[in-house]
């Protein structure tokens, strides 16, 4: 059973070689840090003081996460979930996958693992990008010293984990939609609509009921310390609950499909 599952995951891993998903998370992860680095290299005035100031890494981290939490992470996750499933539609390979001796649950979970792997990769490249955005200007300009304040690894790791959980409802629902609809645009369209709805509803006192809102809620309430209505539970608790619901429904939708390729 475990061997079958591991073989399923490995086969999914092999499919991702040189695929668009792998490039997407690399580009998505390095996009914001790349812009920050470029701005600092083009406008170096004030960098010496900035790099000597305490809390350098926290400020850089907060600055980087603003666009990441609100825009890049949800968008890349929507695309990644769709791409993993589209790989089978586009190559006409669902029938070959379903003619292999794998339980449907294995096929379903192996693909879900690959989507989660892409999210982890995205976060890895993003964090690596933040680090590079911190040290590259110091390596380029003699007047800029390497930051002296320590990197708060524990805090960063914990917050990465929080954001990872926050994004899980998007993973679950996008996966469900990608399995349900053959078209690449249908899940993306629905995802965009929900994402815009979540952003528009942020000021609403019940914004926590919207599954795509947790990243933005989490970022604005904890990282930016903005005043927010008290949530009945943590964003991560809501996100985890939605993820379980969406993943469960996704499996039922997938397994119940009469035509498997």
């Amino acid at each position: 059973m475990i061997a079958t599952f591991l073989a399923g995951v490995r086969s999914e891993w092999l499919k991702q070689r040189r695929s668009l998903g792998a490039w997407l998370v690399l580009g998505g992860g390095l996009f914001i840090p790349g812009i920050i680095t470029a701005v600092r290299l083009l406008r170096p005035a004030g960098l010496p003081q900035l790099y000597r100031a305490p809390g350098f890494w926290e400020r850089l981290w907060t600055q980087s996460w603003e666009s990441m939490a609100v825009m890049i992470l949800p968008l890349v996750v929507m695309l990644a979930a769709s791409l993993i499933v589209q790989l089978e539609y586009r190559n006409n390979t669902w029938k070959q996958v379903h003619a292999t001796p794998q339980p449907l649950a294995t096929i379903f979970l192996a693909k879900l693992v690959m989507i989660l792997k892409l999210v982890v990769q995205l976060l890895f490249w993003f964090n690596a990008g933040i680090y590079l955005a911190g040290i590259v200007p110091a390596l380029v300009f003699r007047a800029v010293d390497l930051p002296t304040s320590p990197i708060p690894f524990g805090y960063f790791l914990g917050r990465n984990l929080d954001f990872f959980v926050d994004v899980l409802p998007i993973v679950g629902l996008q996966y469900l939609l990608a399995l349900r609809f053959r078209s690449f645009m249908a899940p993306l369209g629905a995802g965009f609509a929900l994402w815009i709805l979540a952003l528009g509803a942020l000021p609403w006192e019940y914004n926590y009921v919207i599954p795509y809102a947790y990243l933005a809620i989490d970022y604005t309430t904890t990282v930016q310390s903005r005043v927010s209505p008290a949530l009945p539970a943590s964003p991560q608790a809501f996100a985890a609950a939605w993820f379980v619901v969406f993943t469960g429904v996704a499996y039922v939708v997938y397994a119940a499909k009469g035509d498997k390729g």
Binding site: S19, H98, P101
Partner: protein
């Protein structure tokens, strides 16, 4: 339901595939109606029918790609519904257009399926060599010609050395040389490895030199199923020699009196196809009886014609 059995060289043996009363509908359209397909183990079964006859639907049902609605499917004597995983371990397939990951090389494509089927790494080289794709190197599958894609699909299907190979129109897109190669390969797999092959086609001539058994489906119903020899016998039955004479009624009487089966049809005397010396004897008897022979013609229907007649084309 008891697994279906059939006679064979070694006495009773199990069917590799047996369907009973297989019926399938897409919304209100009945595409398969009471299909009883029987593929004896160790044979090469040609599944024939025009486009849209129900071949692919039947094969997809046999592979569990479509949910069964009515009827039963047994593969290796076991019901597919209850033993899907166990059965698929021993089945290799290629359905309709090639299923390949276009951004990967031939070797990388095979590596995916090798992982799933957990077969030894050497099988990749062996499968590539079998289909003549050993030298494709770093070329991606989406840069392959259709023929190369078909061959790679066959390599995927036989990678894990299945007991049953299910191929849907595997010669589509192949040039005559490629068709010959695929035919030779399937024959070899059957002879040397005892692989049962279920291969569909809409062109009888493409597979008649390969198959041992034939099933013909038309508009979702089986119109013929049996050995190729039985189909050839049907061909013999519908062939005849037609003789046109100055007095056909008298000619028929002379021929019958000579011990041959003769009948009058369409203003001519018809007899079963006979060897040339026999034909000469009939002509001599007619001339001796005072009947002028105007024309003697033997009409032999080829298998393709029989096939077309069976499907009412």
């Amino acid at each position: 339901m008891e697994p279906a059995r059939t006679g064979g060289r070694k006495g009773l043996r199990m069917h590799a595939v047996a369907t009973r009363g297989l019926t399938h509908r897409f919304s209100t359209d009945t595409v398969l109606h009471q299909v009883d397909l029987e593929v004896a183990a160790g044979t090469i079964y040609g599944f024939l029918g025009p486009n849209g006859a129900g071949k692919t639907t039947t094969l997809r049902l046999i592979l569990g790609l479509l949910r069964q609605q009515e009827g039963t499917i047994h593969v290796f004597g076991k019901p597919l519904r209850q033993h899907r995983i166990e059965i698929l371990r021993r089945v290799g397939s290629s359905i309709e257009s090639p299923s390949l990951y276009g951004h990967l090389t031939a070797r990388e494509n095979l590596e995916i399926w090798r992982t799933v089927f957990r077969c030894p790494p050497r099988r990749i080289d062996e499968a590539l060599a079998l289909v003549g794709l050993s030298g494709t190197g770093r070329k991606r599958a989406d840069q392959f010609s259709l023929g190369m894609k078909q061959r790679l699909s066959i390599a995927v299907a036989l990678l894990h050395e299945p007991a049953l190979l299910v191929l849907d129109e595997p010669t589509n897109g192949l040039d005559p040389h490629g068709i010959l190669e695929v035919r030779d390969l399937l024959g070899r797999l059957n002879r040397e490895h005892g692989m049962t092959v279920l291969v569909s086609s809409h062109i009888l001539s493409e597979i008649e030199k390969l198959v041992t058994h034939v099933g013909i489906i038309h508009r979702g119903a089986m119109v013929f199923q049996g050995t190729l020899a039985a189909l050839v016998a049907r061909q013999e039955e519908s062939s005849f020699t037609a003789i046109d004479t100055s007095d056909n009624a008298r000619a028929a009487a002379i021929v019958t009196a000579g011990g041959w089966d003769a009948r009058l049809h369409g203003g001519k005397v018809l007899v079963r196809p006979l060897p040339a010396p026999e034909v000469a004897r009939i002509v001599a008897a007619l001339v001796a009886g005072g009947v002028g022979v105007h024309e003697v013609a033997t009409i032999r229907k080829d298998l393709e014609t029989i096939f077309l007649e069976l499907i009412g084309a």
